[in-house]
């Protein structure tokens, strides 16, 4: 692929093309895992692409570029989550962005916040595959590749994550309209 070849030759057009073509995808993966309120989101996106550009020689199969970027994004997010959990007591206060005119009604905002608060309470190795499965619809093989584990392992983690999410979600009143059984 032209992009991979160009990156190996340190050509600027390749880096521009990489960011242009895969920027929205990488942002989406990070949003799925971290939510949209994370103040370090742009820094994380930059870290993912910097690692990809700097480490392009590690990509042995140019056709797997997207999967490789997913892997880098997952590992980057995982590192940040683990790091934050070491000092998380005061980290819940994030900047409130200006609400756009067409913002969803407050109840959806609260529910969205609760979803990611529940994800914050989950072990990171359950949270990541679960959020990617839930939001991105990745299949087991894609998840296994992204997380660097076997399909069997990701299947086990997903099962635990689903049970944990259901148990935690039941305790959040703001999620009641979406999780209450009919």
């Amino acid at each position: 692929m032209e992009i991979v070849r160009g990156l190996r030759e340190r050509q600027a057009f390749a880096a521009n093309a990489l960011v242009g073509q895969y920027g929205p995808y990488v942002r989406r993966v990070l949003f799925r895992v971290m939510g949209t309120q994370d103040p370090e989101h742009e820094d994380l996106v930059q870290e993912v692409f910097t690692r990809a550009i700097a480490g392009i020689k590690q990509l042995t199969s140019p056709g797997a570029l997207r999967a490789w970027l997913t892997q880098i994004a997952v590992f980057t997010a995982r590192g940040v989550i683990r790091h934050r959990r070491r000092s998380n007591w005061l980290m819940f206060l994030v900047e409130v962005p200006d609400q756009p005119a067409d913002a969803p009604p407050p109840s959806v905002c609260e529910a969205a916040g609760c979803v990611y608060q529940i994800l914050d309470q989950m072990p990171v190795d359950e949270r990541i595959p679960y959020s990617l499965r839930l939001f991105e619809g990745m299949d087991l093989a894609e998840l296994a590749t992204a997380c660097g584990v076997s399909v069997a392992t990701v299947r086990r983690r997903l099962a635990r994550a689903e049970a944990r999410f259901a148990r935690l979600a039941a305790k959040y009143e703001a999620l009641a309209p979406w999780v209450r059984s009919t």
Binding site: A15, N16, T50, F135, K171
Partner: protein, 458 residues
């Protein structure tokens, strides 16, 4: 669980995320190229007076982000030709990789030696991570256990030891740091030099000098006392293994064990506890909570499990004994631990029960402040903004000089906006600007007043 409805919620969240994801980040590709491949032109203009944007000087006009701070540091490092620190660990001198956990075995220490001559000795069973290496120091995360740090002083030395929410800023010292993640409690014993310890409960930071020991934990009093007196007065031996310094090899060697030097310390006058403002409630010398009732089943199991980080098992054990009974009978300092167990195990209802019990039974004890703040946070997280606002208001009323008052006042701004309570939002914005004129949420508070046509008083 209602799968269809949850699917609908997820679809809405996805749509919002996709909209944001499609927005490009200006200058991203260029910053990534510079960070990955290095600058294309050497410059002599200080970054603060950088030339206008040109094709070659493309890194100069960049927004201030953490990534660009790193880039500036990297450029400065290359411009001045100072090498980045490198580290090697153990007797095999294995190169240290940043971002990877390092755990010492149970029977020996693990020395980490750095090219500036500094040595960090990981004590038995402790886990650390070298998060970052720079030209003037390193950032080391202490996940649990203890480490002994011998940091070489130079005019530019900048080392940080991070333990949970606490930071020890180092410019050239020798000290022992111990961290218990289950209770978020930190201990720093300083043998040489000086450090600044930052984090919750510590205001702008507590400076320590040689011969002092600091003990702090979230929800606990901050204590600074002489090191040798602290050792003499400890009722039980410290839980860390005896300090052992690494032996020398071809890298700069460590100095002798600090335990040999403590006896040489002159008695240091006991520093005052954190200076109390006139209205700050006095911290009691001993917990005033009643003794545990004799008929309450002794249940060390839940506490032991909590100590090992097995929160879910700890909560199960506590529930087996009777969570309500524990809430009625435990002393304050154990009740806050019980609340932490419930919180880390992901049970907001039981967390709330423990916190509320603490506030009700021990309203004047320091732990009540943490419980009130915790209740506010919990109510926010579980979608009860009205209740959260009440807890934060009570926290501010009962503990107006506590460490987290600015956080609570800032949180009220968001909560009243979420509630659509204009009067509450204006009142909280005025309160914030009056009490925290230099706070992090000043812009937000002013915006609230401006949106409601109220002038901010200066």
């Amino acid at each position: 669980m209602n799968d269809q409805r949850l699917t609908d919620l997820i679809s809405q969240l996805k749509a919002d995320q996709d909209t944001l994801a499609n927005q490009p980040i200006p200058g991203l590709a260029e910053r990534c190229m510079d960070e990955a491949w290095g600058p294309t032109v050497e410059f002599s203009v200080p970054l603060s007076t950088a030339a206008p944007f040109t094709h070659k000087l493309r890194w100069l006009l960049v927004p201030v982000t953490a990534g660009c701070v790193f880039l500036a540091g990297y450029l400065l490092a290359t411009r001045t030709s100072r090498p980045m620190l490198q580290g090697k660990m153990g007797s095999d001198a294995i190169a240290i990789e940043t971002g990877k956990s390092i755990t010492a075995t149970a029977d020996r220490v693990l020395p980490l030696r750095f090219t500036d001559g500094s040595v960090v000795t990981v004590q038995p069973k402790a886990t650390v991570e070298v998060a970052r290496l720079t030209t003037s120091g390193a950032e080391v995360l202490l996940e649990n256990g203890a480490l002994l740090a011998d940091i070489v002083h130079t005019p530019d030395t900048q080392w940080q030891i991070i333990a949970g929410p606490f930071r020890v800023l180092v410019t050239g010292t020798r000290f022992l740091t111990s961290y218990r993640p289950n209770f978020q409690s930190l201990e720093v014993q300083l043998y040489q030099g000086s450090v600044l310890v930052q984090g919750p409960m510590l205001g702008n930071g507590i400076p320590l000098v040689a011969g002092q020991k600091l003990e702090v934990g979230v929800g606990q009093a901050v204590v600074v006392r002489p090191l040798h007196r602290a050792l003499a007065s400890q009722p039980t031996p410290p839980k860390i293994a005896p300090l052992i310094a690494p032996t020398s090899d071809d890298w700069p060697s460590a100095t002798a064990s600090p335990m040999e030097k403590t006896s040489d310390l002159e008695p240091v006058p006991t520093p005052a506890l954190l200076p109390a403002t006139p209205t700050q409630p006095k911290a009691p010398a001993k917990p005033t909570s009643p003794a545990l009732p004799a008929n309450l089943p002794r249940s060390p199991d839940w506490a032991n499990l909590a100590d090992e980080g097995q929160y879910e098992a700890a909560l199960e054990a506590a529930e087996a004994v009777g969570f309500t009974e524990l809430c009625k009978g435990l002393p304050a300092h154990r009740l806050i631990t019980l609340a932490d167990v419930a919180r880390f195990a992901g049970d907001p209802a039981l967390t709330r029960k423990a916190f509320e019990s603490l506030v009700k039974r021990f309203p004047r004890e320091r732990y009540a402040a943490d419980a009130l703040f915790g209740l506010g946070r919990l109510s926010s997280e579980t979608g009860n903004p009205r209740q959260a606002a009440r807890w934060f208001e009570r926290y501010l009323r009962d503990w107006p000089n506590d460490a987290l008052v600015e956080q609570a006042a800032g949180r009220l701004l968001e909560l009243y906006q979420t509630l659509g309570d204009d009067a509450g939002a204006v009142a909280s914005a005025k309160y914030y600007l009056e009490h925290h004129p230099s706070g992090m949420r000043v812009t937000h508070a002013k915006r609230i007043l401006s949106d409601h046509g109220v002038e901010a008083n200066r």
